[in-house]
Amino acid sequence: MKSCLIVDDSKVIRMVARRILSELNFEIEEAVDGQDALQACQKNMPDAVLLDWNMPVMNGLEFLIKLRQEKGGDRPIVVFCTTENDMEHIQKALMAGANEYIMKPFDREIIEAKFAQVGLL
C-alpha cells in the first residue's frame, strides 16, 4: 500500500481528499501546514504528498523546497492542489520540484487522472 501525506489547513479539504485517496488505496497521513508536514516527512517519508499552497506557519512552496533538501526528500511524488491557478504559480511549483499540479476545485476524477499520470496508480 502506498502512503500519501495530505497537507492542507482546511479540515474539510483534508477530509474530502482523504476519502478519495483512501478509495484509491492510499494509506493517509495528514498535516495542517508546511511545518507540520516537514516534521511528518522527517519521521516517515511518504510515497506521495498532496500539497496546498496557502497555509499559515509555512506555505506549500517553502515546504516543497525544504523537503527536496531533506535526506530521501527527492523521493516523494508531490502534487500541488491549490486555488492558485495562474501560470506563474504553476511554473514556480514545477521549478521547486513539484511533479503535478491540481487547480482547485478538484474532484475524484481529477485526482485519479493526475495520480495515474505520475505513476502513483
Partner: protein
C-alpha cells in the same frame, strides 16, 4: 411520444448520423431534443417531429442530428493509445517514411479537438527526430459546434486537468481569463473540417494513421462495418488504425486485424 414518432426519429437519426437509438433510450431523445422543440415554440416533441416530417427545414435537421451527438473528449484519453502512438507507431513510421518525410494523420471523430491536439503535442515533442518533415493532422466531425470549439482551442480549467500533464499545459497553453488556450503553432498544425462518416470520404486521400475513437460505439454492426471498410481503403499498407477502448474490428470486418501487443490498434488484415 407515440411509437410511430419514435420510429420516425430513430430512422431519421440512423440515416443522418449512424446513431442507433433503442426504445429504452427514449428519455435521451426527450432530454436532448426538448430544448430545440421549445426554441421553435413547441412544448413537446410532437410538434418537432411534425416539422421534421415535412422535411423542408434543413437547419432543423442539422440541429437535431448535432444535438444527439455525445461529444465528451479529453486530452490523452486512456493514456495508453497515445503512449503506443509515441513509442511504437511514430518511430516505425519515421523509419518507414525516411525518404518521403511525410506523415498524414486523421482523427475521424475529433469532437472538441483534444485528440488531434494531443497528437500534435506528441509530434512537437518529437520534432527533433523529424527534421524537414511535412506532417498533417486532419480532425473531422459531423458537428459544426464542436469544430468551432476545436478551432478556437480554448478549454476550461476542468478540461485541461483531465489527462493533460502539467508540464505540457505549461509548455503549450496560455491563460485567457478563466480559460486555457492551446498555443497558436499547435493550433496551426491541425486542420479541422466538417465531415459526416455516413458520407463518402475517400476524397481525403491516404493516411498513415487513423484515429477513430469512441464513435463507432454509437452505430449498429452494419454501419460499423461499412465505415471501417471504407476507412481501410484510405489507410496506407503499413498504416495503423486506433479505435476506442470499447471498440473492436473483431466480428465486424475482416479488413483489419489487431496489432499484437498494442491494444486498440489495428492494421490491414492481408
Amino acid at each position: 411520444m407515440n411509437s410511430a414518432d419514435f420510429q420516425f426519429l430513430a430512422d431519421f437519426l440512423k440515416k443522418g448520423s449512424g446513431l442507433v437509438v433503442s426504445e429504452d433510450k427514449m428519455y435521451l431523445l426527450e432530454s436532448r431534443l426538448l430544448p430545440i422543440a421549445r426554441e421553435r415554440g413547441h412544448n413537446t416533441l410532437d410538434g418537432l417531429v411534425a416539422e421534421l416530417r415535412k422535411g423542408t427545414d434543413s437547419s432543423l435537421k442539422v440541429a437535431v442530428i448535432e444535438a444527439m451527438t455525445t461529444n465528451e473528449s479529453f486530452f490523452f484519453r486512456d493514456t495508453k493509445p497515445f503512449q503506443i502512438f509515441e513509442n511504437e507507431t511514430l518511430p516505425a513510421l519515421i523509419e518507414a517514411r525516411a525518404a518521403r518525410k511525410r506523415l498524414r494523420i486523421w482523427c475521424a471523430a475529433a469532437s472538441t479537438g483534444q485528440e488531434p491536439y494531443s497528437l500534435a503535442m506528441i509530434l512537437k515533442e518529437n520534432a527533433a527526430k523529424m527534421p524537414g518533415w511535412r506532417t498533417e493532422i486532419l480532425g473531422t466531425d459531423l458537428s459544426s459546434e464542436v469544430l468551432e470549439k476545436a478551432k478556437a482551442g480554448m478549454y476550461s480549467q476542468f478540461e485541461v486537468q483531465r489527462g493533460l500533464p502539467i508540464s505540457l499545459l505549461v509548455k503549450y497553453f496560455r491563460q485567457v481569463n478563466e480559460m486555457w488556450q492551446i498555443d497558436a503553432a499547435i493550433r496551426a498544425s491541425v486542420r479541422f473540417q466538417k465531415l459526416n462518416l455516413m458520407d463518402n470520404f475517400t476524397h481525403l486521400g491516404k493516411f498513415d494513421v487513423i484515429f477513430c475513437r469512441n464513435v463507432l460505439i454509437y452505430f449498429d454492426q452494419q454501419t460499423k462495418a461499412e465505415v471501417l471498410e471504407r476507412m481501410s481503403t484510405m489507410l496506407e499498407p503499413d498504416g495503423v488504425l486506433f479505435l476506442g477502448g470499447a471498440e473492436t474490428v473483431l466480428g465486424i470486418t475482416d479488413k483489419f486485424k489487431p496489432v499484437t501487443g498494442q491494444r486498440g490498434v489495428y492494421q490491414h488484415a492481408a
